[in-house]
Amino acid sequence: MNAPFIEASIAAAMTALRLRRRDSRFAEGRCTPHVEPCELFFINARMQDTGSPTAGSPPTLEDFLLAVGRERDRAAFAALFGHFAPRLKAYLRRQGCDPGGAEELVQEVMLLVWRRAETYDPVQASASTWVFTIARNKRIDALRREQRPEIDPDDPALVPALVPGPLESADHRVEAQETTGRLRAALKILPPEQAELLRLAYFEDKPHSVISAEQGIPLGTVKSRLRLAMERLRKAMRDTV
C-alpha cells in the first residue's frame, strides 16, 4: 500500500471523525487510534470495489452507507450523520417541527438509516434519495400518526415492468449517484416559480390542491408549473452523458 493512499484514507477518516470528537467512548480509548474504523472501512471498500470507476476517489455517501450495511462501520455512520442530520433537521423544521422535536426525529431517522443500511441497494437509488424516502415515511408516521401505503415489490399481483430493471453493475450504481448530481444542477436553473412549487410540494406536507388554495395560485397554474418542472428534471435524469 503506498503512502499517498494511506494519507488519503486518514484524511477521509479524520473528516468523518471530526464529527464525533465529543463521543466519550473514543476519549476513553476504546477505539484508539481514532482513525482505525474508518481506515478499515476505506480499505475494505477499495478492495471490494477495485475496478469500479470510484476506486481511488474519496468515499461517497453511497460508500459510507454500504460500509454501515456491510460492516456496521460507526465512523462511516458518523460521516453520514454529519452530512444528513443538518439537512434532515431543516426538512423536518419545514414540516412544522419545533427545533427540539426536529432533532429528536433526526435521531429516529438516523437510527433507521443504521438499522436498514443492509437493505440499501446503490443500483436502485442514490444515498440522498434513499435517506429522503426514510425521512418522508418516518415523519408521516410520527407527525401524522399515519401509514404510507406502498407497493410490495415481491407481490405476485404486481404487474412487472415491460423493460427489465437496471442490471446489477457498477455502471448503474454510478448512474444512480450521478442522477442526483444532474438533478441538483437542473434544480438550480429551474425557473424560480417552478422551483418554489416543488419545494412546497416536497417539504410542506401539502398536496398541490392545498398549495393552490393557500398561495392563491389557480389549480391549473400549479399543475402546469409542476408538470413543466417535471419535464425539465426528467430530461436531466434521462440524459446520460
Binding site: F81, E118, S126, P149, V159, F203
Partner: protein, 233 residues
C-alpha cells in the same frame, strides 16, 4: 398482461412521492402503482428529486449532543435482518397457471383476499360497497379525512350523474366501466374533481373498483335533488 392507459398524472404522483397525500388517497395511488410499471418509474424519479432537494436544502445546525445520543443508541435494537432480494421474476412454466391474487398490495393487507367475506352493504340496486378501515388515527388535516371503499357494480349499473366537491379517485380492479371520459379497465385510475360531471356505467361483466373520495359527491340530475340530502356517497 396489459398496462393501464388512465393514470393519476404528474401532480398526484408528486404529492405521493413527496408524502403529502393522506392515507386514503395514498392507498389508491399505491395500488395503481402495483398495476402500472410506468407510474412506478415516474415515482422513482420523483423520489430522486426528493433526494436532490434534500441535498440542496439550507442545512440547520444540529446540537453536537445529537450525534452522541444516536451513537449511544445504535446497539439498542439489532439491525433488521437482510431481506432476501429477488431481482429476477420467478420463471413461469408454460401451461402452469400461477394464481395471481385479484387484489394487489397494498390494498390486500387492508381488506384481505376473500371478497365474499367482506361486510358489503347495498348503495342502490346492483351496487354494493364496503368501507375500508384505515390505520391512521386521523387523516391528513389539510385535506380532510379521505374515505376509501370497495365498490361492486353489476353490468349496466352505475351511480347517478354527479360531480365532486373535492376529489374522487376510482381504480378499476376487475371488469370495467365507461363514462364520458372513456373506458376504464383493471389498473386504470379515473380522477374526478369539480370539473368532471359524469355518469359511469359498469361494463357487461360488472365492475369492482377501489373508490377514494375526499369531500362528497354531488348529484346533478333530477334524481340528485332527491338523493343529495339523504345519501352520502
Amino acid at each position: 398482461m396489459t398496462v393501464p392507459t388512465h393514470h393519476p398524472g404528474d401532480t398526484l404522483l408528486i404529492d405521493y412521492a413527496g408524502g403529502a397525500l393522506g392515507e386514503a388517497v395514498s392507498l389508491v395511488i399505491a395500488t395503481h402503482l402495483a398495476l402500472c410499471p410506468c407510474c412506478r418509474l415516474n415515482v422513482a424519479e420523483m423520489e430522486a428529486i426528493g433526494g436532490a432537494l434534500l441535498e440542496e436544502i439550507e442545512p440547520e445546525e444540529v446540537d453536537p449532543s445529537c450525534l452522541d445520543a444516536v451513537l449511544a443508541r445504535l446497539d439498542e435494537i439489532p439491525p433488521l435482518p437482510r431481506a432476501p432480494r429477488v431481482h429476477k421474476p420467478k420463471p413461469v412454466c408454460p401451461g402452469q397457471r400461477t394464481e395471481t391474487p385479484l387484489l394487489p398490495e397494498p390494498l390486500r393487507r387492508y381488506v384481505g383476499d376473500d371478497l365474499d367475506r367482506l361486510p358489503w352493504t347495498s348503495l342502490m340496486r346492483g351496487m354494493d360497497c364496503v368501507e375500508i378501515p384505515l390505520f391512521g388515527q386521523h387523516s391528513d388535516p389539510t385535506t380532510g379525512r379521505g374515505r376509501a371503499r370497495l365498490m361492486r357494480m353489476k353490468g349496466g349499473v352505475g351511480p347517478p350523474r354527479h360531480t365532486h366537491r373535492g376529489i374522487e379517485l376510482t381504480l378499476v380492479l376487475d371488469g370495467g366501466f365507461s363514462d364520458d371520459l372513456g373506458q376504464f379497465v383493471r389498473g386504470d385510475l379515473a380522477v374526478g374533481d369539480e370539473s368532471v360531471h359524469h355518469r359511469p356505467v359498469a361494463d357487461e361483466e360488472g365492475c369492482l373498483c377501489l373508490a377514494v373520495t375526499v369531500g362528497h359527491l354531488h348529484f346533478t340530475g333530477a334524481l340528485g335533488l332527491i338523493l343529495n340530502p339523504f345519501v352520502k356517497f
